[in-house]
Amino acid sequence: MQAILTRGLRRSFGGREVLRGVDLEVDYGRVAALLGPNGAGKTTLIRILTTELMPHGGEAYVAGFDVVRHAGEVRRRIAVMPQDAKPITYMTPYEFVYSYLLLRGLSRLDARRAARDSLEELGLWEVRGTPIYQLSGGMARRVLVAAVLASNAEVVFLDEPTVGLDAVSRRVVWDSLRRYSDGGASILLTTHYIDEAELISDVVFLIDNGVIVSRGSPRELVNSLPGKYVVEYPATTNYDSCVKVGDICIAFVESLSEVREGALRVSHKSLEHYVLVTVKSWGEGYEEG
């Protein structure tokens, strides 16, 4: 049984089809990253999988249960950190995590233990009694991650969990996510930080304009690019093998001797380059996506 499985998932807003037949599967014990431009359908997909939004077509299963017909069963097995979510700021980190766990149905004893473990893991135990409004934005964000990971749910959905976090905080969150999935749980996260997806995910799904256009491990996707190096030229460049992306033109070369005059940047190929040349709808996104 897969932790997440969708087949031909569709959803429209007004006349605009945001999801146009999404096929996706995530195994247990895996961290999956959903990458794509603004408005590609990432948040809509998360909202459907977390039973908050009805699909208009196709099928979706989470922890083996149909998200439409068995929403109650799904809700007992998942935890979600929505996009732009914020903790209740007059509460302390401990109060927020503890009360969230009680609302999830944990016993008081379990909730106390799990809250402590999670706050310690995310480096928040020292500030457990400080009102959240006195903490930095990054710490407040980590409080949400702590609450969701303390739930010990089978499948966890994180919609842009590291937005606004500094480099150290992001690593703290990444380590926690990795440890969490090592325990057998599945994590589906969306992110605009491609380096983040490359570092922590076992599998990457690239969504563009409402369909999954590519999938695989970060290494597989990067290796599918030609050459060894990536050279960026101005978009006005007219080299044959150059792929125009916004105001740059990307070329793949095997050796540095192939770099031509006018190059803006040369680097090793990475997942970011794969995403840049695979996505076709940069800058076309709507707000609801």
């Binding site: 009805m54 109650g72 007992r76 097995r77 979600v80 903790p87």
Partner: protein, 252 residues
Amino acid sequence: MRRVRGGLRHQLRAILVLAWLNGLLPIARSPLWVVSTVAMPISLLILLAILYRGAGLIMGIVGGLVWTVLSSGTSLIGDAAYYRLELKFQQMIVATPTNPLAYAIGLALSEVVFALPGIALFAVLLVVTVPINQWGATAIAVSLALLWYSVSTLAFYSSTLFAYVRYTWAVVSIVTLVLGILPPVYYPATYLGKAWWLAYLVPTSASALVMQDAVGITHYSPAQIGLAYLSEAAWCLVGTLLVIRAARWRSP
């Protein structure tokens, strides 16, 4: 993995947790909120007592009770919308065994926690000012409970209609005017003349009508009192149906 249950016991506990986190905690952190809740009804009470002496004082106390319960409902509009639109807290709770009705009742109960000091204050003033028998006290308690339930359910439903949290601020003021000042809450329904039946159109004046009769400041016929209870019960039913319909976790 930790499996969780979502039975009736969990729902009851969830209601208390929500009442704690949205009611008791903020009051404990900033007691000024309690003062702000009773500021307006006390202002009206003082004004009426100065202008109309004894009768004004009693009307001000009855109106204060209704207003305090009403304000707990109007606060719910803002809080529920804030949790849904700004914090996305409701979306986090969707993915838990806590059901929508428990969530709505928990938030409503938390608003009562804010209103309790005000209700206690006006109740004490009422007991000190007017002799009330057991039946009268029961009628007032039942009427306030029905008012709380109907106003809270209607408020929760209203909160689901907003797409932007700041829009709720204006609506709260309008709702307070329409439900707290315009209908016969601070004056007898008999002042409306032949249009006295208008008092039944909103739950606040139906409740005030019962209370005005119970404290003896205005006398209504048994049929009029019966209709007032009927009106309150009907608003409770409407509110429940709207919550069940609108508070489904999932957007269509």
